[in-house]
Symmetry: C2
Subunit: 226 residues, 2 copies
């Protein structure tokens, strides 16, 4: 769906982030879910390097993005927002109790059992690159990530998606795995790499990514700190 | 509720973990939710240091605990299990859409915005204690944890719980904050420390903790590696 300034749904993202983060800001997960659900939205954008206004911390307690407001529900945490959007979208959350619970389990597995170690790896490779602790820590952490990817590969087997059909769990797992692109570790697990490409080939993902990229200011696109 | 060998709900936990982990295994979150909901359960227990049987990876893709099975729904990830239990328990998940979504947001905030850095701190303090990278990394990580605690304190203000009334979000946030007991960092934020004590003072938590502790074998209680 195109962004619609009249939509009741407001998603908060960034107008500027450093080039390496463009296309990786977490409002992308929410935009993707909205695209899967066929729901339009409008955006409110902050500059990532500028202090968030005080009132924003009453909407997002940690000052992060995304935040979400549809007039009835005001939310933060991309996982919770995706679950909320998914309530009325059978693609994201199947209606039968067991399947819905499984999709939720995979969404939370992505956020709590996979993303933390990928986040740690990116802290090392991006923010602490060159630091001694990062150099010393990296090998053991990389092994932990490898372990998770092996388990994911075993689980996937011949399945196209984690539970056979695409759900919000795949949306979140693929979103989290994007944090491994820099490392190349996914290439060691072809099933995971193919699964990842399958998720990202969804038209809804492409539209969401294009919309996030289009929202960055010209300064951001030129890689200029404002 | 007492553990009931005839219950339809099976929770998988451990019969043995090292002493420092006793009372901290994640099935505690599920037991706590079941106690809040007044639902009985039975347990299936593995020895933490022994290889999990192959079939277990078809139930819990990463081989971790807890796993959950109520005959209709088979689940993993403590966050997803707590949400599933909460569907029919207004204490855990209020019935109106907005409040339920907010409780979910806090549960996921605990798992994705707070627990990862607490987990990193515990990796340093427990598993990598004495390693050079851990010594070098600790100060900057501690500052990140402090930042989160400050935000949590600001959010809590004069509220008893994150959204005023206790929900599954508080269950998970308090569970996650237990990982900070060793560090003493919560003492720097009295509002967070009082909130934490308030959550843990709930009778349902005490019953859950007692049940987990009772399930460890005598060897585990004596701190003896089997």
């Amino acid at each position: 769906m195109p962004i619609d300034p009249q939509s009741e749904i407001e998603v908060t993202g960034f107008s500027w982030v450093p080039p390496f983060a463009q296309g990786h800001v977490r409002d992308l997960r929410v935009r993707w879910a909205l695209e899967e659900a066929g729901m339009s939205y409008r955006t409110r954008l902050f500059h990532a390097m500028e202090q968030r206004p005080d009132y924003y911390f009453t909407e997002q307690p940690f000052g992060q993005v995304p935040a979400y407001d549809d007039g009835t529900v005001q939310l933060f945490e991309s996982g919770a927002i995706v679950l909320h959007i998914g309530r009325d979208c059978e693609t994201l959350l199947p209606t039968d109790t067991a399947s819905r619970a499984r999709a939720t389990a995979w969404l939370i597995a992505a956020l709590n059992s996979v993303e933390p170690m990928i986040g740690e790896l990116n802290t090392i490779d991006i923010f602490a690159s060159g630091e001694e602790w990062a150099r010393l820590r990296r090998p053991s952490l990389e092994e932990r990530v490898r372990g998770r990817l092996t388990r994911l590969s075993d689980w996937l087997g011949e399945k196209d998606y984690l539970e056979g059909q695409f759900t919000a769990g795949d949306l979140m797992m693929a979103s989290v795995l994007r944090g491994l692109e820099r490392s190349g570790l996914m290439n060691e697990q072809p099933r995971v790499a193919q699964y990842y490409e399958r998720c990202l080939a969804r038209p809804a993902f492409s539209r969401a990514l294009a919309a996030q990229m289009a929202d960055f200011t010209q300064d951001a696109k030129e890689g200029v700190a404002a």
